[in-house]
């Protein structure tokens, strides 16, 4: 069970937070010198340049994702042999004042627990007014179809991924999100890399303390106000997801121990 070989792996508490919120944002993963080099390179791109080519054209962006502590995080989610799905250099021009509609990426995913990871790398500071991606923490396990949530504009608990240069946010593929307006005179860049798992995603993180009181607290407190009457069901979904991630089907941090009580 205990997977401690790689010191760059996510901890059990971090993975519990991911199970509950559908994302984790890690600051300072990329050294400033590399951030600046990547940012300079990204400035050569615009929305007229297909963003899906950047990954294939840039050695620098590959360097970011080869950093040991970045690889350690990716290993924790999708294992040591992930499959490239797609990538995109997202660009929000200066003074674009409209936000994107809320959506989930790709299509409805039929896998019960397996997931793709979407890494959002910020090569420059992206404060709130610059339009960093807006996400709804805890929405990642709900079944919606791409833009079927496009009617929504504001949801209690929504959060902009404001970030310092060198931050990478790792998002579950199912999380509800949208690009935001950029009220600055600077172009905003964020590079997205989506990877599929190369193996079953059980026990891939540093599983020390995977059933500890600290982990239990994170998951039991995972009630999201926006879910209203369904907050308990939403939490039970996160508890099931964490059970899958940790690899121990006896673990039960669900509301009122529902997973055990109902024989799930």
């Amino acid at each position: 069970m205990n997977n401690t070989a790689n010191r760059h792996l996510l901890t059990s508490v971090q993975m519990a937070e991911f199970a509950v919120n559908g994302f984790i944002k890690l600051e300072g993963l990329v050294p400033q010198e590399l951030n600046e080099a990547v940012h300079e390179e990204q400035k050569q791109y615009s929305n007229a340049t297909p963003g899906h080519k950047y990954w294939h054209q840039s050695k620098l962006i590959r360097e970011v994702f080869e950093l040991p502590h970045v690889k350690g995080v990716l290993d924790s989610f999708v294992g040591k042999a992930p499959v490239y799905d797609h990538s995109f250099l997202h660009i929000v021009p200066a003074e674009r004042h409209s936000g994107q509609s809320y959506h989930g990426d790709s299509v409805i995913d039929t896998r019960p627990f397996a997931f793709d990871i979407q890494a959002f790398y910020f090569s420059h500071d992206a404060p709130e007014i610059m339009g960093p991606t807006l996400i709804l923490p805890g929405s990642h396990l709900r079944k919606i179809s791409t833009f079927s949530i496009g009617r929504y504009k504001n949801i209690i608990g929504q959060r902009r991924l404001a970030a310092k240069a060198g931050t990478i946010a790792f998002l579950h593929h199912g999380i509800w999100h949208c690009a935001q307006p950029n009220y600055t005179d600077q172009t905003r860049y964020v590079f997205k890399l989506r990877l599929r798992p190369g193996q079953e995603q059980r026990g891939l993180f540093n599983t020390d303390g995977y059933d500890s009181p600290e982990v239990a607290e994170v998951i039991r407190k995972g009630m999201h106000t926006w879910a209203g009457d369904e907050a308990r069901l939403n939490q039970i979904g996160a508890a099931k997801f964490y059970r899958y991630l940790c690899g121990d089907d006896r673990v039960d941090f669900s509301f009122e121990g529902v997973l055990s009580r109902m024989g799930m």
Binding site: H97, G99, Y152, K153, I156, C178, T225, E230, L233
Partner: protein, 96 residues
């Protein structure tokens, strides 16, 4: 001469009680021209009304109630869209 235009507000509540808390909101304003900005995603952290009943007190009319969820055996824990969605309207006069 004044003409009537429709404003639509979508409020999602935490449960089917019309006094329960607003958890999500959107406004589509037919009185605004195409050049004017509509409500956009992420532009507010506080709902315009704390509940549907509060909005009714301020002159909004409820034009659609949500159908309550049904829970089929084997799918009781499946979740998707926000369930308690109310559509409200207000008609305002615009001068052209």
């Amino acid at each position: 001469m004044g003409r009537k235009r429709q404003q639509i507000m979508v409020l999602h509540l935490s449960n089917p009680n019309l006094e329960s808390n607003t958890v999500a909101w959107a406004i589509y304003d037919g009185a605004k021209s195409k050049k004017e900005a509509q409500m956009t995603t992420g532009d507010s952290d506080t709902p315009p009304y704390a509940s549907v009943l509060d909005a009714m007190r301020d002159g909004w009319y409820v034009i659609q109630f949500p159908t309550l969820p049904s829970y089929r055996s084997g799918y009781e824990h499946e979740l998707g869209h926000l369930p308690y969605e109310y559509i409200l309207e207000r008609k305002v006069t615009v001068h052209e």
